[in-house]
Every structure is written in C-alpha cells, then in structure tokens.
Amino acid sequence: MGNEARQMTAREFTTVGTVTRRKDGLAKVTGTETYASDMELPYMLHARVLRSPYPHARVVSIDTSEAERMGAICITPDDVPDIRYNERQVSVPVKTYRDRTVLPWVVRQVGEGVAAVAARTEALAERAMRAIKVEWEELPAVFDVHKAMAEDAPQIYENVLLGDAELPVEHNIACFRQVSVGDVAVGFDEADLIVEREYQTGRVYHAQMEPKAAMCRPLADGGIELWATLQSIHNTLQLLGRIFALPLSKIRVHRSSIGGAFGSSIQMNTPVAICVALALKARKPVKIVLTREEDMYDHCKYPAEIRLKYGVKHDGTIVAGELKTLVDIGAHNIQAYPLLGCMSGWFVSLYRMPHMNFEGTAVYTNKTPACAMQGYGNPDVSFAVESHMDIIAEKLEMDPIELRIKNYVGLGEEFWGQGPTVRSIIRSCGVEEMLRKGATMIGWDQRGRPEDKTGRYRRGIGVGRTFHTSGTGAAMPGEVIDYSTAMVKVNEDGSVDMSTALMCHGGGTLDACAKLVAEEMGVPFDLVGVSPASTTDTGYDVCTHATRGVYCGGGSAVEAAKSAKAVLLDFASRLIEVNPEALQIAPDPETGEGVIFLEGAADKRITVREVAKAAQLKGWGTAIAVESHRMVNCPPCFVTNFVEVEVDTCTGEVRVPRAVCAVDAGTVVNPDLAAGQLEGGLCRGIGQALLEDTEYDPRTGELTCGGMYIDYKLYTAEDMASVDDVKVFFADTYEPSGPFGAKGIGEAANNAVAAAVMNALENALGIRFQFIPITPDMILAAIHGWACEGVLPA
C-alpha cells in the first residue's frame, strides 16, 4: 500500500498489531447497523421538546391544554423531579458542580427545553409542541465572558450545588483553578527573554454525524429500559436512578452504536431524561431524536482565551511559564472544573518549566453549554504553546525543532494526565523519533523563510507536537473516577465472548479490546466476539473518553482474559495432566482455533474447544472471569503533525496540500484504524484552525448559523489533500504498563494540528495569527493591513 502504517510489525504478537477487518464493519456497509436514532418499538410515541426562544428568561406559565386536546402526552417542569444534577458523572461528587434540572423554570440559553410532548408521529408531536402556550418573562442576557464578569452583568445563576453544598455564584464565574510549581516571579527574573502573547480558540461544534437520540421503554415493574447516544451507559444508569428515584436494578441502559461522539455524549445529554420522563408518564415507549439545529444548541467545544508567557535562557532552556485562561462555558457547567485541571496538566506536560503558574477561570454566558471535545483543552493549550515555541525559536535564531527537543517533557519525567491530581512517570516516548523522521518526510529543511517567498501562491511548513493522556488511571483515588469492568468467557466451541460497557465511537476501541483478549487467550481474533452490552450485564465502566478505551478498557479486558485463561488452563491440566503454569495457548493457523499445549511435548496438546466442552460435560464449570480493574498510570500518547499550507494571497484561501502525522501509541493494536484516527484528526484539526466556529447574534442570543449545516460548514473530500500526500507513521515504542505495550491514540490525533497549521501560515506569509479559526477574511486583512482582530504584531 505504501502506507507505513501497514508495515507495522507485530513484534512477537500473533494478533495484536495485525490488520483485520472491523467486526462491526459488515453491518455498517450494509446499512444494518442500528444506532439509537434507528431504534423502534411497537406503539412507540415520538417526542418533541419545546425550547426557549430567549437566551435568558423565566417561565411564568405553561398551558399544555391545546396540545393535550390534540392527543399528546405533555410534561412541564411540574411533571419532572426537581433535582439538580450534573449530566456528567465522571468526577467524584464532591467535585461535581450541579446546575441542571430535567426541565427548568429559568432558561439560560436559546434552545433550552422547558416542556415536551409525545405523540403518535413526529409531525403530530411537532404540531402539539407548537400548540403549547408559554408565558415568558425575559431577563437580561450576556454573551461575552468579559461582560459576564463585569459588576453590572446579569446574574445567570444565584447559586449552584457543588457536591451537596450550595455554592453562590459571583460575577458569573462557574469555577476557578490555580496551580503552581516553584515561583514564576523568580523564574521570569532569571530569564534572558520573555515572550508573552494572547491566543483565542473558536467555539467549535462537535458535528458528529448522528444527532442525539433516546428511546425509553417503561417496564411493568416501574423500571425503564433505555437506548440512547451515550458514551457511558453506567453513568447514565446512576444518574437516571438518582433523578427518577429508581433502584439501579430496575433500570437497563443498553449500549447503542453511536454515529460519532468526539466528546459530545460523555454527559447524559438533555433529551435522555426528558425522554424517560415522557415514557414514564405515557406508560408507552417514547423516542426522541434531535434535529441538527437542536443538536447544535445542545453542546459545543470549550473555547479558550489564553494569555501565555514563557521565560527562556539564551540557549533556549525554558525557565518559567505562565498560562492564564478564560473559558466561556455557556449556560451550564458540564465539566469546566476538571477541564481547568486538565489544561494545567497539558501545560505542565508539554515543556519542562521549573517555575509554573496556571490560572483558569470558567465563566457562564447565555449560550450553548460547552463540553469536552476531542482533546479537552489540549488543542487550545497546544495551539498557544506550540505557536509560542516558534516565536521563541525565531527570536533566539534556533531551529524550532531543536528548541522543542531541548525542552519537551519525556522519558522518566512526570506527566500530568488529568491535572495535578493524576500523575505518571513517562515510561515510553517517541517524541524525538517523530520530530526527526517527520521533519525529513515533510522536507523541513527546504521550508524556506517567509521573507523569501513571492508570488500569488505561497507555501509554508509548520510543526505542532503534543500528546494526550491514555485514560485517567492513577495509583490513588482522585477527582476523577476511572476503572473498567470486563468479562471474558470461553464458549463450549472454543470461541470467546468479551463483554464490556466500553463504547466504540468509530475508532475501533472494541476491536482493539477484542484483539487484546485474543492475544491473551491465544485464540484467533475471529473467534473473539464482542458481546452486546447493557448495564445489567456489565460491571461499571466509567466512560469511553479521555482516550482510555484501549489502555484502560483494554487493560481490564486483558485482566479478565488472564483470569478466564487461568480457569481454562486449570481444566486443561486436569485433562492432560500437565501443571497449568507450564501450559500455553496459541492459535493454530491451520485449524483456525486455539490450542493449549506444553512446549516441546508433542503429545500434550488439546484444543480450547475440547477443554471447554469437557468442562461443561463433566460439570466442572465455565471458564469465565470478571475483572474490575483500574490502571495505575496514565501514559501520554505523543503526537506530531507537520503541515504544509498553500495560501492564495489574492483571495486569502488556504489549503493543506501535504501533511505528515505521527503518533507514539506504544504497541499499535489496530494499525489501519490508528492511521484512520490520525487522518480524521488531521481533517478536524484543520477545520478548527481555518473554518469552524459558532457565533451568536447579540440581539437575540441565537446562533448566527441557526444551528444548520447551511452555514456551519465542514470540510468535504474535495477540500482535503490527496491520499498520497498525507503520510502517517507510528513511533517504535512499547509502553510497559499498557496491555501488550499499548497506549491510546484517539484525542492525540487532533491536538497538535491547529498549531501546525498556524505555524505553517507564519512560514508562508510571515504573519502570525492569534485567533483561530483563521478565515480568508483575516488573511486578506493581515496581508493588506486592514484592521483585523486576531493578527499578532510582528
């Protein structure tokens, strides 16, 4: 194929590292894969939510009589439990900010739902919803973080809950975090050069292909069954149990296929609880599917305003760094507190700083609530830091790559996987390999200087490097819950079932876990089945987020496989009279099944199938194990992107004709799926750098694009570089703490791209931008010297 990814050797592994067809692929290419939005039950009702046209208002009254006359089941804030919760259940309760209710009496964004209906068809539900009369009392609204913190700003919340305690909210500040190491005053004093700049990232929308959906069936015993777009079935289970006062054993949340996530369903999205409430009232199944415009009002990425200051010595050594960030979180605090912690962690873990200060402030505004999107603050921090590194390199007349190599946090050093409370020592690192090899592949030494470039079309090459955490494991309990439960069982025909509540968002997480189990069990990959999952048949898995699927989820699957294997080998030892410690299992390529054997003894062989069957017939039992496992590390998966841009200096248009993307994911379990992650992350990262943002009309609080794809644009196939011009490779590393040496990749694929694009633009034009997305308008303005926000002075 020519793609280096395909040549990835599988070291001493049989299955891990091989290229296989994804197990859910057949269903997906034949259109039979069932997503939550495809689910259907007999006598199902369709729901619609009545949403606020105002950015800030009190509901004075709701009259549903007309809707009810039309035959619809209706709910208002009176019909739902009045419990405040946080829809994301990943943080421990004492660190969880709660400002959400199922249906509120005060709305704080355009599009916030206050009532809902269920009817026989979607069209009927829409009509019934429009027939509801709401009396609103408009309240003053604010859409800008600086205005929101001002003395005279409208107060969006009086108080919220932090844990179970009431917390007054002042100046609309949702939360604040400050972390420091050493003393930056001392550090900056020691510096020979100080560089300080402001940066700003856009309020991007996840734009996952599938808008949110939920379908709930009320059960005869008062319980419920749920299918929904979720990244965590267990967190949803617990939240629903708490909200609706149901025992968890009466709630069954199924894992549904998800049409893309990118972080948008870490939290239990707003339609879920509304759907459950309607189903409980209607005593019939209810399904709700958000329109695209509702989905765009439901969540967006955390944007960041960043003020970054580095102090360096003449030789390029960083002595101090300070990052202050202001995050506009919109109408709800979904996960701003852990975000700020993570951002401090990303900052600390990029480049060594003996002295460091981080301050993060999250501020409410009357806009769509922000939530995690791939990278969770990392693309923003890396955008600022990697731009800064190029500025510093230029001022010191150092090669930008050498500067990075001099300062990066690497092997043996401390990595903050989720802020200050989750730390690991780095035990595998491919940073230098990726920088050097990538530089050669892109032609770094021929990139030229901007001042020498002429002509209408100008090219430039830029680099960006960063990492993401592989999950949030740690040796001690912390602010963030992280463990996975997996079950592995050997069937009587020698096939194996793997059951876990992990999700696959598309990147192949479940395939990777199945590969890890196959490797551990010694059976062919084809014989490992990924079981459907629901909360009643799986143990707790926190969530498939934080790039933890392979490292943490796979880690627990391997533990379960080890335990099931021990049971199986014990059975085998009874049959062939060999000490189980001496037995091995490996797939027999000729027969296509797993074989248990004693090395060197040709007569001591028996198939997994024979053992499992014998154990059943003899009543010994099933070779089955369940393990709940917490990883005690969170190793960074490093990533490097080299990007070449071409700018049309007459129209300001930018395209990316070439790129090199490299990741250090330790052992790469699924090479082609991992390559696909890098390619996808490249596309989304370029979108963040050059294209995507949501803006609000300050008069109405509405999205200027109305929530529709007519004006929220996404790159098409015709916008992207040719297949031969995007090169992907993996660093040759092995993570000792990871399952068969594996780390994560998911979010890393995205995190450094915007920085690389920014740096490439600087190399092409000699102009440095501060804000992303960098639109053609901004580029022309910068070239012609028109007044323009977001262009840095020379």
Partner: protein
C-alpha cells in the same frame, strides 16, 4: 424555535399536472397560494425553515415542455431540465464554459440530478450561480401564464434579494441566448468556504476577441449586491480597447466600485470587495485565453 428539519408539517395539496397548460391553469387558479415544485432542493428547505408555506404544490418536474435542450442560432435550455443533463450538453457544445463552470460549481451530484435552471432563477437569490454567466450571455427568460407569454432579459429579472419579476401565475419556461460567434468565450469564478457551498462571491466574464482587441465585454457578479449585478461601467473600459495589464487593472477597479456587498455570515463586505476584483481578473484572463481558440 419553529424550525424542524426532520419533518415537514406544512399542510398542502400536491398536484401533478399532465401538461404545461394544466400547470398554468392551476397556477392561475391558486396564484399566491401555490408554488411550483421542480427539484425541490431549495423549496423544501425553505418550507422546513418556515419561510415559504404554499397551500398548493404543483409538481412540474415531469413536464416535457419544460425540458427542451436545443442548439442552433440560439441555445435554449428548458427551465425544467436537470442540471445533470444540461452540463454535459453544454460541454458537448464546447463553447459555453462560463455557464458550465457555474453549474458544475453548484456542487454535489445529488443536487445536480434534480435541480434546474428554472428553479435556480425562480429562487431569486442574489448568490445564485447561473445568473451571472447567463447575464453575460445576454440571456432572455421566457415565462408563461395561462393568458400570455413574455420574454424578459435576464438582467432585468431580479429586482431585489429574493425578488423576481415573475407574477404569481407565471412559470419560467426556458432560458435562451444567442450562440457564440467565433472569438467569443466565457469563464466563471467562485469563492466558497468549502467545496460544496453557497457562494461568497462569483464573477462571470464573456469576451469577444479580435487579436489583442476586446470587441465585446460582459461582466456580471453574484453575491455582491441585492441582485446579480452587471458591471457596465467596467465593461466600457475594455470594450473596443487593446487589452493590456493596465486596462484590466482599471476594469477590475471599476468592477469593485460597481458592487454593493454586505457583511454576512459567509464573509465580510471588505472581503467581497477585494475578492470581486481578484475573481474578475481570474475570470477575464481565462475567458480571454479561451477566446483565441
């Protein structure tokens, strides 16, 4: 929010007339209450957004009378002929690059397979792609009602954003322009945010060339004013003149002066002004080169 893009809840009657006559009589009867449905890619979206709510939908997509495609002294494009057919036809004729490029730029094949020039014109959008090249071709629009037929020069067809001179009981039947003589060629340029998108700025240029002299010049732009605009003052700079860099620059300057763009979600007024001049030069250069062949 009163938008729901998953379902259409507008109530309407759907009529399928068997002939153009029948369609015109229905339209005459229902007038403002009715809209014609061709490809539907614009109309259905407008209905979902609540911007148009016809009580009667008259499906004209099957009417053969609207599907003529003819070439001779004049080129005739039926208002109901799918772009997917029009595009290869134009390419086959070999000369009408500007219009072909405009149609091709509309983007996705799923739209080209149902969308029509009649629908594009009938929408009246100042950002529509086919009016600028057609205006430079001196195109004429034939419209009919149950009572009469009239021909309207395309450059008089649009009177405001989304406003056209079509009466409620009229249908666009076809668009016609004179075949190009030798030495005449056209080009079209468009700027968008991504590859398949509504235009930010478009420019169409048709020139007639005799050696280094431009004997005729037509320039039209889209998305830079309340209607597609013809840059007459700019045309005058080049017509009858020797073409050199100075003349083209001067012409570009006048193009920029002739437009009245606005800020909108796609780009800013300043960007449109700057880009209009650039697109004009690109389109002119291409058309000028083509005019020698």
């Amino acid at each position: 929010m009163t938008v729901n893009t998953r379902v259409l809840i507008n109530d309407f009657q759907y009529l399928v007339p068997a002939s153009l006559d029948e369609a015109l009589r229905s339209l005459d009867r229902y007038r403002e209450d009715a809209e014609v449905l061709a490809g539907g890619t614009d109309l259905i979206i407008q209905m979902k957004l609540g911007r148009r709510s016809p009580k009667i939908l008259i499906d004209i997509s099957k009417l053969e009378e609207l599907k003529r495609l003819e070439a001779g002294e004049k080129i005739l494009i039926g208002a109901g002929r799918r772009y997917m057919d029009v595009l290869p036809y134009l390419r086959g004729l070999g000369r009408y690059h500007g219009l072909a490029e405009a149609i091709d730029s509309i983007g996705k094949l799923q739209v080209l397979s149902v969308a029509t020039v009649g629908g594009n014109l009938g929408n009246g959008s100042p950002a529509a792609d086919t009016p600028p090249p057609l205006i430079t071709y001196g195109a004429r629009v034939r419209v009919m009602s149950a009572h009469m037929e009239r021909v309207i020069p395309l450059h008089e067809f649009h009177t405001g954003p989304g406003v056209i001179v079509l009466a409620p009981n009229e249908i666009i039947v076809d668009v016609e322009f004179d075949a190009f003589p030798d030495g005449r060629a056209s080009a079209f340029q468009k700027l968008t945010r991504v590859a398949s998108d509504i235009s930010k700025v478009t420019c169409a240029v048709t020139v007639e060339r005799d050696g280094e002299t431009c004997t005729q010049c037509r320039i039209a732009l889209g998305a830079v004013g309340p209607t597609p605009l013809r840059a007459r003052a700019a045309e005058a700079v080049l017509e009858g003149q020797t073409v050199d860099a100075h003349a083209v620059d001067e012409c570009a300057r006048l193009v920029v002066e002739s437009i009245s763009p606005i800020d909108d979600i796609r780009c800013s007024e300043m960007y449109r002004r700057e880009a209009a001049g650039v697109l004009f030069k690109d389109a002119f250069e291409t058309a000028w080169e083509r005019a020698t062949c």
